[in-house]
């Protein structure tokens, strides 16, 4: 796994764009949990790190909506709820203060 960022760099409810091995990774911190997605929306490559984070109406799960054309992805799975492609999600491991991802 590759070092991504320090947890303290991403306050609760915030996000950070990190380049890892030449790949732009959008890291989100929501509800005390970290999520890492490829920053490029699979629709038109809109930057997910600039997206709006939304909670599910039923209170389960968090989503990011691409700022370009509105595709919405589950932060944990990348699922797009029926759109033609899903976002790429990276496995993330928190080791104390440090975050690592598999990419």
């Amino acid at each position: 796994m590759i070092f991504l960022a320090k947890a303290s760099e991403i306050p609760e409810g915030e996000r950070k764009l990190v380049k890892v091995n030449g790949v732009d990774v959008a890291v989100f911190r929501q509800g005390g949990r970290f999520y890492a997605l490829n920053n490029a929306c699979p629709h038109r490559q809109g930057p997910l790190s600039r997206g709006t984070v939304e909670a599910a109406a039923e209170g389960a799960g968090c989503f990011v909506r691409c700022p370009m054309h509105g595709w919405r992805f589950d932060l944990a799975t990348g699922d797009s709820n029926g759109r033609p492609a899903n976002a790429t999600v990276y496995a993330l491991d928190q080791r104390g203060e440090e975050l690592y991802i598999e990419i």
């Binding site: 930057p47 054309h69 033609p84």
Partner: protein, 327 residues
């Protein structure tokens, strides 16, 4: 206008040179391409009036059209999709005004059949990649252009079907405008900014055909007022979204020119242009300030400046031509 044309023209020249230097990354003559990017680039050629020098670009688009008349997201993709098909169709019908190529004319006729065959009963076209309102507005725009500049491309019975289809599509759009003047899609566009910008420019033509049937002028004026009301103090729209700021700026130019409300919108447009110029990369435009250049956005930026150049010379017909709504 406080933005001087002497300031705009060198930027247009510089960015066009950059786009042409990037030719291998958008031209179908160089291999498989993203067709939305191709269509964006062909629109720049149209508005730079350089289409006659690039017939191969348009013919290459004809070559990858599917048997059903549509195109997919990538030129190699085999499944047709409504949104990108409309964008390609628009570039071909408009490009052929100068190219006058029979293969392109036949391709446009296939596009017409595609849209007549795929419209739903309620008047919409569906595309899983786009909100229904967007997926409807682009074929409607293609039919706008067909009725304006190409009615002789298809036979009379087909033209009757086109008008009927267009009316159903237009009705689908106009009936879904919110009371506040915006169009929204809870699944794709809760803020509604981009959809509203698209729909007012695609609807305004209906004023000429439908008269007062759907109060089109009123709908478009309300849409413009909605966009004016949500412009940020810095001149941008939708959280410094370069794409949406370009969409709004262009769309308001067209609609206020036709509605005769330029005085009300001049400053808004100017602020939009100022913001767009301020956030340009050294070459091209990004999706958001500070990001890397995006070729598609660069095409949008060029298109916006070319439209602004025309807008600054108050001849409405010249501006309308840049949407293809006049020959």
């Amino acid at each position: 206008m406080s933005i001087r044309m002497e300031q705009i023209q060198p930027i247009i020249d510089h960015e066009y040179a950059y786009l042409m230097a990037e030719h291998p990354h958008w031209s179908l003559t160089k291999g498989d391409q993203d067709l939305e990017l191709v269509a964006h680039a062909l629109r720049v050629l149209l508005h730079m009036k350089t289409t006659p020098q690039h017939p191969d670009e348009y013919l290459a688009l004809v070559d990858c059209q599917h048997a059903d008349g549509g195109w997919g997201k990538m030129s190699s993709e085999k499944t047709s999709a409504a949104w990108v098909t409309a964008f390609c169709a628009l570039m071909l019908i408009r490009g052929n005004l100068s190219l006058k190529n029979p293969r392109i004319a036949e391709s446009v006729r296939k596009c017409v059949r595609y849209f007549l065959d795929t419209q739903k009963e309620d008047g919409k076209w569906s595309d899983p990649s786009w909100a229904d309102l967007d997926a409807v507005s682009h074929p409607v725009s293609f039919f706008d252009v067909l009725m304006a500049v190409g009615p002789n491309l298809v036979d009379a019975p087909t033209m009757v079907r086109v008008r009927d289809s267009w009316r159903k599509g237009m009705k689908f759009m106009l009936e879904r405008q919110d009371a506040d003047g915006g169009w929204y899609d809870p699944e794709f566009h809760p803020t509604g900014v981009e959809i509203t910008a698209h729909l007012i420019q695609d609807s305004i033509v209906a004023d000429l055909v439908l008269g007062d049937e759907h109060q089109v002028r009123n709908c478009c004026q309300k849409g413009v007022m909605k966009l004016l009301s949500v412009q940020a103090a810095d001149g941008s729209w939708d959280g410094e979204n370069v794409d949406h700021t370009m969409d709004c700026t262009r769309s308001i130019m067209l609609v206020c020119s036709i509605l005769g409300t330029r005085a009300q919108c001049d400053r808004t447009i100017e602020r939009g242009i100022e913001w767009i110029l301020k956030h340009k990369c050294e070459k091209g435009w990004p999706d958001f300030p500070g990001m890397e250049t995006n070729l598609e956005r660069t095409c949008d930026g060029l298109d916006t400046l070319l439209k602004y150049k025309t807008y600054s010379q108050p001849v409405t017909t010249a501006l309308v031509k840049l949407w293809g709504y006049a020959a």
